[in-house]
Amino acid sequence: MLRGDRGEAVRDALAYQIRVGEFFGAERFVPITNAHMMGDIEVMGDGGFEYLRATCAKRARCSVPITTNARCVDFEFAGRLGQDAAEVEKERRLIAALREMNVLTTDTCINYQTLYQPHLGEHVAWGDTGTVIYANSVFGARTNFESGPAALAAALTGRTPEYGFHLDRHRKGTLVVRLEARLDDLADWGAVGKIVGEKHQSYYAVPVFTGVKRAPLADELKHLGAALASYGSMAMFHMVGVTPEAPSREAALGGNTPVDEIVIDDAAIERVYAGYNLKDRRCDLIVFSGPQLSLFEMKSLAERFAGRKVASGTQVFVTTSNGVKSAARELGYLGALESAGVTVLEGVCFYILQNLSQMRTRNGWTNMISNSAKIVNIIGAHKFNTILRRTGDCVEVACTGRLA
């Protein structure tokens, strides 16, 4: 490949991967079966777009199935949201370039729920972080955080450097978390991720959860993982009796002595909710996003909003994938949400929307209230005052316009 036998794009991709692998002391490459990349105009800017076009012009064609993460424009809503027409047009051209390179532009950050579920030990090259921690932890597949250019390179060459979570030694637990809290709502699971992630911020920290009282749902593990990855930059967790590499606490730790043992009870979860500054108590923006909602979350939210109306002066956004939105339409969930005044966007995630800072200013948004611990953390650079609340509380705030 380095001779250019498979073309200039593959040669350049491999040379790039070698430089990254050398940094981490990788001894070899491992073949991958699937890649998932972030690639939209908001994150890559004009420089990244030029790179992508140049790569496409070198006749780059991915040899391994590769899907795309949530992007920054839902074309149906771009005008109503006041997004820049020029940037929206670039997004269209960017998508066309990706398709020409044999990339499946699926535009979802819940590929692990909707598109592809790798098996135990399968090597993949995924990003965003929520997809990575789910793959490593729940499926027992193996991937590092792969940025857009790195995942694309992996799909071009069919391999990725073997370091980090491809290696057994990084997959063992490093700390123990005993769950004593009830954890009835998705936001509670996100709050757990915030507590653990903030205390042990490291890519190589691997928490081992014990004491789980019932089989957690995929959406609960999704919110836990997304928050751990967001607050802690973590790429893996174990849950004893739940995840495949944790049949027991001892097996999950793999001989490691835990650096910390944390207990999370109901009081600890309540302290998370009590820790937010409500500022002027304005309820102008409620967001269900980050990660995109599964069909089950859409059903639950539709039931909560059924027969109600979003309060005047309040805007409510939901983001999901094209597939989930289509199914929600068929099943009547979309109608229930839209009748209540909820805006459901597809193929995007709220925090990466093109022009979000300007949108915030133009709408006079101050507080952003969400049941996603991840989005409450990640949206900071756009200067929102963010508040985490349970799903039911978010719906109450949305419909009453009162924030307690």
């Binding site: 790039y16 430089r19 994150v43 955080f145 792969e146 940025s147 490291s202 890519y203 930059s233 990640i378």
Partner: protein
Amino acid sequence: MSEVLATVRVARAFGPVVEGEAIVSTEGFSPRYDLDRWSGLISKPGHKLEGTSIKDKICFFPTAKGGIAAGWAFYDIKHKAIAPKAFVFGVTNPVMVQGGVFANITITEGWDPQPAGVIRTGDWVRVDPARRVIELLRRAS
């Protein structure tokens, strides 16, 4: 060649030799969470460096936060001419490294001793990835 006042060794490093003014942060960093990627200013409310520009600086961060975005974002800020000269991390994640390599921005991970005791914001330092050292060349006046 300038006299070296102090040295910090790093465990892993990539990129060209660079010199510049140090910013020593006690808080971690993510270009997605913390940075206004149009001005180069740290914009997250409450970040310990809020309002500070990272352009042309040697940025010392103890940890990486998040996030997949750095892979494109470092290339983007380099293209917009608001990139720092180097990122020096205590513990980083692969995305920062993938981003640094992609954008050809010098990046290092692991340090001995802790730079906070040796290097202060405003000091002039040199990062030499091949020799895996950071050298303090001049104190802030």
